[in-house]
Symmetry: C2
Subunit: 292 residues, 2 copies
């Protein structure tokens, strides 16, 4: 008979996978059990530390609701989300790089005419965003869909502030023009802290880490026959670019935001000077399996 | 400037520990991040699998309440609880081995006279448990406290069946006599499944594992000047001894349960034949820091 021992702990658990009929689950659990037991043997938690861990993991689930996902936040702040994203979207030369979706995307934002202003409460510094949607070969993609969203000037998404921000504030979808170009008006994004009032915030504080994300505009670009990309436009010069709490920054996604003081330049965009402007071209790679 | 890359993912996260003022947390998180990133790189989860994992971890917290602790169950079924127990209570030659506490202990069970029957509803096969509490040197320990609890004949603890079992059924505390001996009456324990209606049950089923624990009586023995021990008495011959869903079995804790048909032997215990009997001596090691 063979029983559990400290030295044989991993083997004892792995032996129980003998009847697993799902080869992928066997692979995942074999790796998970290996690393879990190796971790415990390295750190040798006391019984009190083990119970602290149980309580941390429990609270991380219990604070989740239909608007808050603390487990994604934990995955984000430990670099796991970015690693999974990166593995799943290994760069094709010339294509726009992927970054995290984050927890604040809302499906079904209104499709608006090019040039529309997605700021519904008039707060914040106006900002014109424009660029082109192209294939990796440089050919323009007409009718590509751009789904954009961002925080208010106070650093909150509309769904974090119901009753304070208008519903759908700073969200919209746009179709690229015949030459692949797009343009819309928003406000200049600002850096903001991820939620710190839960277990993940306490862990960050314990590790001596700040909770800030550098200013960014979220963007999902998609077009028939191309692989969609989920990405951000980051603001050059932001103090948190190198220490993003969720590790989302890729150098290729940082853009200069230029302040324009000329009232004549503002008029065509329907904004008043001074205003900001930035340019961001999106390059999509062909879909792995072309639409039939 | 340095940004997140697949190859450098672990280093990017570990670099953020530079400001951590808690050396133990630095040690724990360094190991956790290392194994977490190594796990992701080994299994390369798809975005869908990552989201399945997020949902599994979230549900595991959300099903917890004041009577149910699914995270402890997950720790138990992956052998982590037993590993932590074993690390924290490395055997001293001659001392009773430790095993898992489990989620069904209730503090403050009534202290009863030796020989009391802890079965409050008369259901199940009567069973006399007796033994001695000794030091590792074999000297009897008088006045040691034994806290015992177990399932009913149907495989449920009283707190799992409020309104069905009497409150406090099959729980009690006893003090050892002057010669270290103890004896009490209960029912013969039976093997039972851990709760399978939550995420952990689904995971076990996915892995092709049964959810059964071999029959056992829980026991915490403590005495002034000695290190307390949390352990089980297992029933020899149980079909699940080698495949305990929580890896709790240690060979030294298995005992023969003997059926006695003689009515004359039953009378002194206040039970009717046939009844069962078993013997279990507890050996405690001296406390690390003796009481002053």
């Amino acid at each position: 008979m063979s029983f559990f021992t400290e030295a044989g702990s991993e083997a004892a658990v792995l032996a129980r996978l003998a009847e697993c009929r799902n080869p992928r689950l066997t692979q995942v659990m074999t790796s998970a059990v290996h690393h879990l037991h190796a971790f415990v043997k390295e750190v040798e938690p006391s019984m009190e530390e083990w119970m602290q861990a149980i309580q941390f993991l429990t609270r991380t689930g219990q604070i989740c609701d239909d608007k808050r996902q603390e487990w994604i936040l934990l995955s984000d702040t430990l670099g796991v989300s970015m690693l999974v994203e990166t593995i799943n979207h290994r760069a094709t030369a010339g294509a726009t790089e992927q970054t995290v979706l984050g927890p604040f995307h809302v499906t079904g934002a209104p499709v608006l005419p090019l040039g529309s202003n997605i700021c519904r409460d008039g707060k914040g510094a106006p900002c014109v965003v424009r660029g082109r949607v192209l294939g990796v070969d440089g050919q323009p993609i007409a009718g590509a869909l751009l789904d954009v969203w961002q925080t208010s000037e106070d650093g909150f998404y509309d769904i974090q502030q119901p009753g304070i921000q208008p519903e759908g504030n700073l969200r919209g979808r746009f179709h690229s023009a015949a030459d692949g170009s797009y343009w819309f008006v928003t406000v200049k994004p600002c850096s903001y802290p991820i939620p710190t009032d839960g277990p993940v915030g306490a862990l960050l504080a314990g590790m001596g880490r700040h909770p800030y994300r550098p200013a960014h505009i979220h963007l999902i670009a998609s077009a028939e026959g191309f692989e969609p990309v989920t990405t951000h436009i980051f603001v050059k010069g932001d103090p948190y670019l190198e220490s993003d709490a969720v590790f989302g920054v890729k150098e290729s996604l940082i853009r200069e935001f230029v302040e324009v003081a000329d009232p004549a330049a503002a008029a065509p965009w329907g904004v008043t000077a001074p205003f900001w402007t930035t340019e961001f071209d999106v390059r999509l790679k062909p879909a792995a399996a072309p639409a039939s």
